[in-house]
């Protein structure tokens, strides 16, 4: 029941909010709803047994003739992603509190629907149900960019929508193909696992799934929708997309591809990993000379999530554990980084690096917060970025060491672009123009982020403890 509650609370609450677009209190309503969802998710932790597989499950017949069930629940990995989603959402909503915009009810309603849809992706055990949530999450994201974005937003939103939708259609074909293999159609994970596909069919289905995920995550060379979308989306939308939504793709590889098509994936993972690790170096190099801070962070994100994807594709326990750790770390850090962009935008009206600078002296709290998020991003040990990165690179090394070498350039280049942009936007002779240091809301947003950066750097084991049994049961190689 608890799973269904955290799933439908934001969706229904969000839909209700959209009915009153002009309401001025919707931000408070959204915050309260997301906090309730967060509280409920935390309470799931208390009764959770890492060794017991799927828990808090509920299975109801939905469309029996089609073989579609409403089947939700959480295993260790699902729970961690659920927590990430539901704990970040209140922070993201809080991050908008100083802003006013048209149709606030619609804005916050869409945010909540998106949150709920993403929860749906993380908890679904029925492939068809999963697909509905997968596509449902896209709709609010599209409208967030279209209605509240900047620049060429309608073109960007359209491209984002079409690109990811087209990618997903092949997955849909694969889903239906998988579902009708039984005498009575079924989309149940457990049932699908017993389906024996011919090797070639298995490869085709796997490629269909992977294309959808490669675009969603995104990994090189399917990433070109991402920089424009991240830059032009309203910051809360960027946070939702980079902090949580892209993890849908990464999570889905673990949830569906690894158990259903492990051999097909293994047979093809070599060239995929090559493509991804080259993409890591590629995106890192591009980030160095970016002039806009938000775009720089967007490219950095491609590099970071590429490493996560590569680690999952090693199909080794440490790679997947590292991937889960890094999904959480990346989510936290992405929200931190894009909030930094927002603080700068709010006070200076620009994210253009060259027109910033000299802020450290006059805004020391902001400078400190920025620097700590930076440390997490460059994966300094004892921050949240390190344990995951270490395990990901280590698993790549173990399978084929040249991958770790190529992906490892991201370790060096990451320091280059992060320190360079920090230096140019924050250091130097004190700026003459005013710059207010962090206010109350800023501190409320940064505090949990910074705490998570340090705590997860010291105690990554808290997460490993939750996911390791699930992962051990998953890996075959």
């Amino acid at each position: 029941m608890l799973t269904s509650f955290v799933l439908f609370l934001p969706i229904i609450g969000g839909l209700l909010l959209t009915l009153f677009p002009g309401s001025r209190v919707s931000k408070w309503q959204a915050l309260i709803l997301s906090c309730v969802a967060a509280g409920a998710s935390i309470s799931m932790l208390t009764g959770f047994d890492p060794n017991a597989g799927k828990q808090f499950g509920i299975q109801l017949q939905w469309l029996p003739t089609l073989g579609v069930d409403f089947h939700v629940g959480v295993d260790g990995i699902g729970l961690v992603l659920l927590l990430l989603n539901n704990l970040l959402c209140p922070i993201i909503i809080l991050s908008t509190f100083k802003q006013t915009r048209d149709h606030e009810g619609l804005f916050y309603g869409l945010l909540l629907v998106m949150q709920g849809a993403m929860t749906g992706v993380f908890v679904s055990y029925d492939l068809f149900l999963y697909y509905i949530f997968w596509e449902l999450a896209l709709i609010p994201a599209y409208f967030l960019v279209l209605l509240w974005g900047t620049g060429e937003r309608s073109r960007t939103a359209m491209k984002f929508f079409l690109y990811t939708l087209v990618g997903s259609l092949l997955m849909l074909v694969g889903i239906i193909y998988l579902g009708v293999q039984q005498e009575t159609p079924s989309f149940e994970l457990a049932v699908l696992q017993s389906v024996q596909l011919s090797p070639s069919a298995s490869v085709l289905v796997m490629l269909g799934f992977m294309l959808a995920y490669a675009i969603k995550i995104p990994v090189f060379p399917f990433h070109t929708w991402q920089p424009d979308t991240y830059v032009q989306a309203p910051t809360a939308g960027t946070m939702m997309m980079s902090g949580i939504m892209l993890k849908m793709g990464l999570f889905s590889i673990i949830r569906w591809v690894l158990p259903l098509m492990p051999d097909a994936l293994f047979a093809h993972s070599s060239w995929m990993i090559w493509l991804i690790v080259i993409g890591i170096a590629y995106a890192s190099v591009i980030a160095i000379q970016q002039k806009d801070l938000k775009r720089l962070f967007a490219y950095a994100s491609i590099a970071h999530v590429g490493l996560i994807a590569a680690g999952i594709l090693t199909q080794r326990a440490d790679g997947i554990t590292g991937a889960v750790l890094q999904m959480v770390a990346h989510g936290v850090n992405a929200v931190g980084l894009f909030y930094i962009c927002q603080v700068l935008m709010e006070r200076r009206g620009t994210n253009d690096i060259a027109s910033l600078g000299g802020l450290r002296q006059i805004a020391p709290w902001f400078a400190t917060a920025y620097f700590i998020v930076l440390l997490g991003t460059v994966a300094l040990p004892l921050t949240n970025g390190f344990p995951g990165e270490f395990m990901l690179l280590s698993s790549l090394f173990e399978r084929y060491w040249p991958w770790a070498l190529v992906a490892g350039t991201g370790v060096i280049l990451g320091a280059v672009y992060m320190l360079k942009s920090y230096q140019e936007s924050m250091l130097g002779a004190p700026s003459k123009a005013d710059f207010a240091d962090l206010d109350g809301i800023d501190k409320l947003v940064f505090l949990p982020i910074l705490a998570a950066i340090i705590l997860l750097g010291l105690l990554p084991n808290a997460i490993v403890h939750l996911v390791q049994p699930t992962i051990e049961a998953l890996v075959r190689y």
Partner: protein, 630 residues
């Protein structure tokens, strides 16, 4: 006492937290007191462990599981053996002196409290590096000290040149760190563990797991990391630039402690290195080359701190040389004595700079021995120690390295002497130009010239004493000593069987030869800089070899042309042309092509997202209707 091991690194961390959060509210005196107090307390706690350490025990304390993979795990846990204990004493002991010194040196800086916060954080990470009981904690300390180095080199961040130097240090170290990380991955892959206790357990048969090739690969990768942190060829160029930081930082981080982490890493991993003779050879030649190379640059530098920086690179090279020779104890011994006399020299230089209102160019000094008498005396002691005059600390440790070189081959011995004579020359050049001859300072600086306060001269005095007597730590048997350090370290550092084919008379003879050559070199420097009162030329007037040395062999320019510029150009091209135009153009082209194709055959759809959404929503409604109807 043994249960309080965790407190030793925690105290500086606590100091950092308090000072960092209270940076703008704490009065300076209080901040300095907290900063110094934490380090002194950590030093005293370390001293308190002397009992079990001297009786040959190794102490350990595990706090919690830090990281865990499917078949390995590492604890956040500490191990104090003879090697790490000596490092802890150097870090907290020299560290405490430098903290006290900083109270005077940084007194007028507006960010005084931040300085102490960062310095405390540095000590925390450095202690983590030497106290951790596994490679992963060592790596955490390793990167952490790099972070503090970054923060302190760029301490005066209004100056973008300093910021560039800080960034360069961090990035260059990251290059080394990647090598180190790959070495750790290989270790983990082959041995399935990163804990010292498992890897190097008594009687553990490493060779049963790995071939010589494996050990060679692991150790070479470790060397890449060590070359970054300890400023060896080819990753040394960050260290001279790091002199942008306040002088106490140069003394503590960039001379006495952090840059010796590479030597610590090798000593910690001796079991691996012993099985990789090829790596030891690389280490030997790399160290020797760095030592000579850096010393030649030192001949033509005119910034008092830059001279000392190249000297540090050179001395670290000497330590690696010793490690490569298999003279592990001599290398560590030199690490300790170097920490004393190089910290002394840097702090002495700081005292000069402080007294001369910030002047660092030795061409604008001269005759300062009358104005800064205390500084002069301690600087002289430091110079004698580094030059290798008996019985100063540097003499004893360097002599043991040279002796090991002689045992290997007379050629290596000669090259080693060459490096140390170069050192002698530029150090006396520095001493003479700063403290002797005619004053070349401008009147303004000279009028305000003053000896430093007690908080600065006191640590100088203590370090001077250590630079004199430090050699007795491992006083050679030849001169009535008993190689105390060697015996003390024997539970951790087991040297290959001592060769005894050098007779006492040869040993005396070699020692005499070295001392005579050193004295002759000092005389040469005296001739040039005192008798002839030569003053180094302006940089622009240097020519020939002198110019090449003055310009540091143009290595920075080379790296800029080979690595930095091409990367920037590639970044600009990929980011402005390839990614948005070509790759994205391909995607857009596919999109428009499909649309054109489909509209050509069926003019139904116009690419409107609205229609897709409508179909999607309709589909869901259909499904729901389906459910209710059937």
């Amino acid at each position: 006492m043994e249960n309080l091991i965790w407190l030793i690194p925690t105290l500086p961390l606590l100091g950092f937290t308090v000072l960092g959060l209270g940076a703008r509210s704490l009065p300076k005196g209080m901040a300095a007191f907290i900063g110094c107090g934490m380090i002194v307390a950590a030093f005293l706690l370390s001293v308190g462990l002397a009992g079990p350490i001297f009786s040959g025990e190794s102490l350990s304390q595990d706090l919690f599981t830090w990281m865990r993979g499917s078949r390995w795990s590492v604890n956040f846990g500490f191990q104090v053996d003879q090697l790490s204990w000596m490092m802890m004493l150097v870090i907290t002991g020299v560290g405490a002196l430098i903290h006290v010194y900083s109270a005077g040196y940084m007194h007028d800086d507006e960010r005084h409290n931040y300085f102490f916060a960062y310095l405390n954080l540095f000590v925390f990470f450095m202690l983590l590096l030497v106290m951790g009981n596994n490679y992963l904690l060592l790596f955490a300390g390793w990167e952490g000290v790099g972070l503090c180095s970054y923060l302190l080199i760029g301490f005066w961040f209004s100056n973008n040149e300093y910021n560039d130097a800080a960034k360069k240090a961090f990035v260059m170290n990251r290059v080394g760190d990647l090598g180190f990380l790959l070495g750790l991955f290989l270790t983990l892959t082959v041995f399935g563990s990163l804990n010292y206790s498992e890897l190097f357990a008594e009687g553990a048969d490493l060779e049963a797991y790995g071939s010589t090739a494996i050990f060679t690969a692991i150790t070479l990768l470790f060397i890449v990391g060590a070359a970054g942190k300890s400023a060896q060829i080819p990753l040394y160029t960050w260290l001279p630039d790091a002199m942008a930081g306040p002088t106490p930082v140069s003394a503590l981080i960039h001379a006495a402690t952090m840059v010796t982490a590479g030597i610590y890493l090798v000593l910690r991993s001796l079991a691996f290195f012993e099985l990789a003779p090829f790596t030891l050879n690389v280490l030997m030649w790399l160290g020797l080359a760095t030592s000579i190379f850096a010393a030649t640059i030192g001949l033509k530098q005119n910034d008092i701190k830059k001279v000392l920086a190249y000297s540090t690179v050179s001395q670290l090279g000497l330590m690696f040389f010793a490690l490569g020779l298999g003279a592990y104890v001599a290398a560590f011994f030199h690490l300790v004595t170097h920490a004393f006399f190089k910290a002394l020299l840097f702090l002495g230089a700081g005292s000069v700079i402080h007294g001369m209102s910030g002047e660092q160019d030795i061409r604008k000094m001269g005759a300062l021995r009358k104005v800064l008498p205390v500084t002069f005396i301690v600087f002289l002691i430091g110079t004698l120690a580094i030059a290798g005059i008996p019985p100063f600390a540097g003499f004893v440790s360097k002599d043991q390295i040279l002796l090991a070189a002689y045992e290997h081959s007379p050629v290596l011995f000669a090259l080693g002497i060459g490096a140390s004579l170069l050192t002698t020359f530029y150090m006396f050049r520095l001493l003479f130009l700063v403290f002797y001859g005619q004053s070349r300072a401008d009147h303004h600086a000279l009028e305000h010239a003053h000896e430093s306060p007690l908080s600065m001269t006191l640590p100088l005095g203590v370090l001077a004493v250590l630079s004199v007597v430090g050699g007795f730590l491992n006083w050679p048997g030849l001169m009535g000593g008993n190689f105390w350090l060697q015996n003390y370290l024997s539970p951790v550092v087991k040297e290959a069987e001592k060769h005894h084919h050098i007779s006492h008379s040869t040993e005396w003879g070699l020692m005499g030869l070295v001392v005579a050559l050193v004295l002759a070199t000092i005389f040469l420097a005296y001739q040039k800089y005192i008798s002839k009162a030569a003053v180094p030329a302006e940089d622009a007037n240097e020519a020939g070899v002198g110019k090449v040395l003055n310009q540091k062999y143009y290595v920075d320019e080379l790296y800029d042309a080979v690595f930095v510029k091409p990367t920037q150009a590639l970044s600009a091209w990929l980011g402005r042309i390839f990614d948005p135009k070509i790759l994205d153009g391909l995607v857009n082209g596919t999109g428009t092509g499909l649309v054109a194709f489909s509209s050509a055959i069926r003019k139904i759809q116009d690419g409107a997202v609205g229609i897709y959404l409508f179909i999607f929503a309709f589909g869901i409604l259909l499904l729901l209707a389906f459910q209710f109807l059937f």
